[in-house]
């Protein structure tokens, strides 16, 4: 946007809830940020519509007490995130103000804390030589942020090509110190510090290309990794009625996934759930980097449901921008948003307030476009320097009334490639995680790139095995339907066997206790082992005279295998349950 010499000012002329109407005395841009000076408190707001010399701004705060005539100062920039070392481990609000440095118990209006610690010294190591030709996103230097190599880059806002004129020697610097000077083709000099700003609603494009994803992203959740895997740079969504386990599942993924940086956007959900992360992550061990705490690789963006609604929309964009920043450093980023429905609802509230023509269920007409645009910012990218980085994005969706035929779910289905549908029925019968194995899918499983990767990383016939597991589940469901219609003795024993074999897959692979230290995270090798064990059992022929013996027999099989799931992999205990399993199987096995 244009940088006018002195930004415009204005005066409030109308207030409806958190929408302020402002008479502007100069140029103003769509989505420009402004501050409404309410007594001695600045209230941050974003312009969302301009009509007849008036700017309509959504205020990121309560407008209680606000009066017409209040002066407004426009900022000549859009809603931006401040990017630099020191983001990791921090807890931000939706606008990237540091929650940790705010005063008092309550969130005070206008208490806008800085995103980065400006006093802290960072050990900087240059990565580029003077004279080098550089472009946006190129790495100039590096600092260690916790254990993550944090690259200092040519600012994203710079377009075109530059010559690196000078770069500081290795040493300690603050984020706002100049560490490099660039010269543009026109001969203009630009000072580069370790921090930069980027407008959150625009995608960072500092990369060469976005290839198709091909590598599995291990989450340790069996029903995902084994049956419907997500990939590095992939997208997925988890719709489910309230209480079906969206948050528990996402939090398990945030703890266990194989990522360098994890960004959790708590978007319009419960404060207590965020507190859980605040309290637990500094204590919990990062499973991928022994000796380090989870918090060291995590950033939390909290706009809980009681925080200002307008900032809810901003929060997901802030989170995505931070993800893009770390991706540009060649890192593997996992972004989780719970719940994207709250963000859509925030859009709906604003659009209704502005009396726009509503689309289905009173959501804005362009909801679908907004959602796909957001999902499209995820992905794996190849950087100019040959490195690659990725953002894997998984969002939850909270469908009204638990009905998947509603605008947010339907729009998201078009945008995301993995669909993890949580079923009320499974949740009710405590079959957690409640991902419906038959309705859910991962489109990536059809990618030849991923198939090849799985064949090399797990086993040559792995994809085939996954198909067999799914088939067993499907046939088990059909058998169950038949048994329900015709009665236990109205079908042959084979139906019962088919059903119970699917129950073995369900109990041993699908069901997983997120609160058990061992069961909650299953590494790939162990997933393979259990999948093989289950498939072997499903291949067996069993001898039963009547259906009555089938249920108790398989209950014992399942119980034995659950005990295996609860034991340390390949431990003595594990082996002894396995031996017990073999004995039980031998009772009924025929060749």
């Amino acid at each position: 946007m244009t940088n006018t010499a002195s930004p415009s000012t204005g005066k409030v002329t109308g207030i409806i809830a958190n929408l302020a109407i402002i008479k502007v005395d100069g140029p103003v841009a769509q989505n420009e940020v402004c501050y409404i000076q309410h007594k001695d408190t600045p209230l941050m707001a974003e312009v969302i519509k301009i009509r007849a010399g008036h700017a309509y701004a959504q205020v990121f705060e309560s407008t209680r007490g606000l009066k017409v005539g209040t002066p407004v100062a426009f900022q000549s920039h859009l809603l931006e995130a401040t990017l630099g070392p020191g983001i990791l481990s921090r807890n931000y609000d939706g606008l990237m103000h540091d929650l940790g440095t705010m005063d008092g118990i309550f969130l005070k209006r206008g208490d806008y804390t800085a995103a980065l610690d400006k006093e802290r010294l960072w050990q900087f190591t240059p990565l580029a030589e003077p004279g080098a030709q550089v472009q946006t996103g190129d790495w100039l230097g590096e600092v260690r942020e916790n254990a993550v190599p944090h690259r200092i880059m040519v600012p994203f806002k710079l377009e075109g090509s530059y010559t690196l004129k000078s770069i500081v020697a290795a040493g300690e610097y603050k984020v706002e110190d100049t560490v490099a000077v660039l010269t543009s083709e026109a001969g203009r000099e630009i000072k580069v510090t370790m921090s930069q700003e980027w407008p959150v609603k625009q995608a960072v494009r500092a990369y060469v290309e976005k290839p198709r994803p091909s590598k599995l992203l291990e989450t340790g959740v069996r029903t995902i990794d084994t049956l419907n895997p997500i990939v590095e740079g992939g997208t997925g969504f988890i719709p489910g009625p309230f209480g079906s386990g969206k948050t528990v599942l996402q939090q398990a993924i945030s703890r266990q996934a194989d990522a360098d940086v994890v960004i959790v956007a708590a978007c319009g959900e419960r404060a207590n759930e965020v507190v859980e992360l605040f309290k637990e992550f500094p204590e919990l061990e990062d499973p991928w980097h022994p000796g380090r705490k989870l918090m060291e690789r995590t950033v939390i963006i909290a706009n809980t449901s009681n925080m200002p609604v307008a900032a809810r929309e901003a929060s997901v964009y802030t989170a995505m921008t931070i993800a893009e920043y770390y991706r540009s450093m060649g890192l593997k980023v996992l972004l989780l948003a719970d719940s994207t429905s709250r963000w859509a609802q925030a859009l709906r509230e604003m659009s209704n307030r502005m009396e726009e023509l509503p689309g289905p269920d009173a959501f804005p007409m362009d909801l679908s476009a907004i959602i796909s645009n957001f999902y499209s910012r995820a992905g794996i990218v190849n950087l100019r320097n040959g490195h690659s980085g990725s953002i894997t994005f998984i969002g939850t969706v909270s469908p009204a009334g638990g009905n998947l035929k509603e605008p947010v779910t339907e729009s998201t289905r078009k945008a995301a490639r993995c669909f993890y549908a949580l079923s009320q029925q499974r949740a009710d019968s405590k079959r957690y995680p409640a991902i419906d194995p038959i309705d859910s899918y991962s489109k990536y499983l059809e990618y030849p790139e991923l198939q090849q990767y799985l064949a090399e990383a797990i086993a040559p016939d792995w994809v085939d095995k996954v198909g067999r597991l799914k088939n067993i589940l499907l046939r088990g469901k059909e058998a169950a339907d038949q048994i329900n219609i015709l009665g236990d003795d109205g079908v042959t024993v084979d139906y019962h066997l088919t059903f119970w074999k699917s129950e073995v897959v369900d109990a041993v692979i699908l069901q997983q206790d997120a609160f058990d230290e061992i069961d909650s995270r299953t590494p790939l090798a162990r997933q393979k082992y259990m999948a093989d064990t289950v498939l072997d059992i499903c291949e067996l022929q069993f001898q039963f005279d009547s259906f009555e013996g089938v249920n108790p027999f398989f209950k014992r099989v399942i119980n034995q295998m659950k005990q295996m799931n609860y034991s340390e992999f390949e431990s003595e205990q594990f082996r002894s349950f396995e031996a017990g399993l073999k004995e039980i199987l031998a009772e009924r096995k025929t060749d």
Partner: protein
């Protein structure tokens, strides 16, 4: 709130709708309170010098030359220890014949607690009711509603829970309470000798419905005073939140907003969340726990009010009449306490989580058996045993008249397991089976 000298008085209303009036006025703040023709009203919209006010009791009979007096401040409550033992209306005015409360004036509906200043809830609230303590354990700082049909005894259960919960203060926010229910609460609290721990804000069916909108904020402002200033454990009872939501929809319809599902305003989620999220555990020990009631219409939980509530609260408790045993039980299927895992097996015996899950799983098997029976199929031996188990489980544990401690609940469950099932059928982690299995 008396008229004071500096207050501005206007006498020319330009527009009147059922719920609002509009006039020209200067220097008015958003959400400011005013008195219109002697009725309380609040600023909901300002356009230039045109100010729109929502009149809580409706505009019937208000003339265009009515007197409009602006207070220059949003709704407030005077807080002090003198609140204890008192009954107030939705505006915080005494209805018990007592004097006005002296104390610090606080705006109601104030800001949210910074999430990083919250403490993780970890203190168990015991009620003696196994349907709650065993299956849906409550924790201080939690927010949870009863989802109940209008004819279920939710007010009785809630009063019982409140009195057993060992709270320092119980704050009742009654919205659209019938006079009988209001008197019921008053009597139960009096009989229990608990009056000094109770503060009540009541809007009965005799009061204008829109006034209800202030009740939860009044109750929660009082709660914050005791929880923060006094570090007390505060329990807030909100009944009935469906009637609160109805008032929201009345207002938004009268203001011509586009309704979303079930003619509720599009902001219903945020409106409800703002209240429920006041539930909090503080580091200094004070806490606010919210137990609410959301009445359902013919059991429909997909209706916008229970649906949005479910997405906000930390679980929900369903009451159901079990015809088999003829008692009201806490339904183990749809009921859920999200925060239970913070305490079960930690503040209670370590086998608690597994016992709880196993019992519910077996109870689910019984439900399947019952379906089979209804469809005219033969039952297996296992089916028969699950039915046997379910009946005893319902009677000895789920019924709301059970009053035992958690360890006894667990022992009762182990007894029922051993009586009806084999170890493998129960499917609990071996170490617990070794320790607690009841050998006949």
């Amino acid at each position: 709130m008396e008229t004071q000298a500096f207050q501005r008085v206007y006498t020319k209303i330009e527009q009147l709708t059922k719920a609002t009036c509009t006039l020209r006025a200067q220097d008015v703040g958003n959400e400011e309170l005013a008195l219109v023709h002697g009725r309380l009203a609040q600023v909901v919209k300002i356009m230039g010098d045109e100010v729109t006010l929502q009149v809580f009791s409706g505009t019937e009979g208000i003339p265009t030359n009515a007197e409009v007096v602006f207070y220059g401040k949003p709704p407030v409550l005077n807080v002090s220890d003198d609140l204890a033992g008192r009954f107030f209306d939705a505006f915080g005015r005494p209805i018990d014949g007592g004097p006005e409360v002296q104390g610090e004036e606080r705006e109601i509906g104030g800001p949210s607690v910074n999430p990083v200043r919250r403490e993780q809830p970890s203190e168990i609230i015991t009620t003696g009711i196994a349907g709650i303590d065993l299956n849906n354990t409550l924790v201080t700082g939690q927010k949870i509603p009863f989802f109940a049909d209008p004819d279920q005894p939710y007010n009785q259960v809630m009063a019982m829970v409140a009195l057993r919960a060992e709270a320092d203060k119980i704050i009742l926010g009654g919205m659209g309470l019938t006079n009988d229910d209001y008197l019921f609460y008053k009597q139960v609290f009096e009989n229990a000798g608990a009056m000094h721990r109770i503060v009540s804000f009541v809007n009965t069916t005799e009061n204008p419905p829109v006034e209800r909108l202030l009740v939860p904020d009044m109750a929660l402002t009082a709660a914050e005073y005791f929880a923060i200033d006094k570090n007390e454990k505060v329990l807030v009872l909100l009944t009935d939140m469906t009637l609160y939501a109805d008032a929201l929809s009345i207002v938004s319809n009268r203001m011509d907003q586009i309704p979303s599902k079930d003619s509720m305003p599009g902001s219903l989620y945020s409106d409800l969340a703002k209240l429920y999220e006041k539930a909090v555990q503080f580091e200094a020990g004070g806490s606010i726990t919210i137990i609410a009631v959301t009445t359902l219409s013919s059991g429909d939980i997909t209706h916008a009010v229970p649906d949005n509530t479910g997405y906000i609260t930390e679980g929900q408790l369903f009451l159901r009449r079990d015809t088999e045993i003829g008692k009201v039980i806490v339904d183990p299927f749809r009921s859920l306490s999200r925060l239970k895992q913070l305490v079960i097996g930690k503040k209670t015996r370590t086998d608690h989580p597994q016992v709880m899950n196993a019992a519910i799983r077996l109870y689910a098997d019984a439900a399947n058996a019952r379906t089979k029976l209804e469809n005219g199929f033969d039952l297996t031996d296992y089916d028969e045993r699950t039915l046997e188990f379910a009946k005893a489980y319902s009677n000895n544990l789920l019924a709301i008249d059970v009053n035992i401690d958690t360890t006894e609940m667990l022992n009762t469950a182990w007894n029922l397991f051993a009586k009806n099932f084999s170890k493998a059928e129960v499917g609990i982690k071996q170490e617990f089976v070794d320790q607690y299995w009841v050998n006949a």
